[in-house]
């Protein structure tokens, strides 16, 4: 009837040896995926926007629409 003696030591070490590489690997993958799907496109979007941005033209358009309090539309 004698059973085999069960594992008494090293249980945490065994678990860590298995799970830590997986944890680090998945974390790095998540970070890399986020970088190339979110941050790089976002940086590109901002670069493209400001390449063709005319601040004065936008300001005048906003002024005519009447959203400012310091300058009223040129008609008034």
């Amino acid at each position: 009837m004698s059973l085999q003696k069960p594992m008494m030591r090293g249980l945490l070490a065994k678990r860590l040896r298995f799970h830590l590489p997986i944890a680090f690997g998945l974390s790095f993958l998540a970070a890399i995926a986020f970088k190339y799907t979110v941050t790089e496109p976002r940086k590109q979007a901002y670069a493209d926007f400001y390449k063709q941005y005319d601040a004065v033209k936008e300001f005048n358009a906003m002024r005519e629409a009447g959203v400012f309090e310091s300058v009223r539309p040129s008609g008034e």
Binding site: M1, Y46, F49, E58, A61, M62, A65, G66, V67
Partner: protein, 167 residues
Amino acid sequence: PNFSLRLSARWHTSFRPTGGREQGVAKVEEYTLPAYFDRRENPLPDVCYVQNLSPEQKSLKEKEIGSWAALSNEEKIALYRISFKQSFAEMNQGSSEWKSVVGGMMFLIGFTGLVVLWQRKYVYGPVPHTFDAEYKAKELQRTLDMRMNPVEGFASKWDYENKQWKK
């Protein structure tokens, strides 16, 4: 002098050993004694499971004092069952209780939904005037005029040349 003597006498009388004969001694409540419980994280509880041994269990305990090789397998199991109620395998086995829990949760969430619907109809007053369609249209126009989030957000979806949403 007389005063302090009286005070010290009162302190001392409560600590005088009475041998349990006087009325002032408290009865030992069962819940104050060390308890037995089957938990995975506490493998060796404070007390044995069986406190009052039957005569054959008592003779088994006597036999345990000698060489353990002389014990048969049944006797070893009997000694185990004196000390412990459930083995680890027995205490760790799962049950179907989670099905009742999930079912109960869903039922109560559904009931809460009904309560919320009733509230909306019979308890709450009208919404503010800022929710009217006309007011909302004016809000939207102002948001676009202000060029809110022109790079990736709201105003970036509006075509200012043609005054329509970008395709």
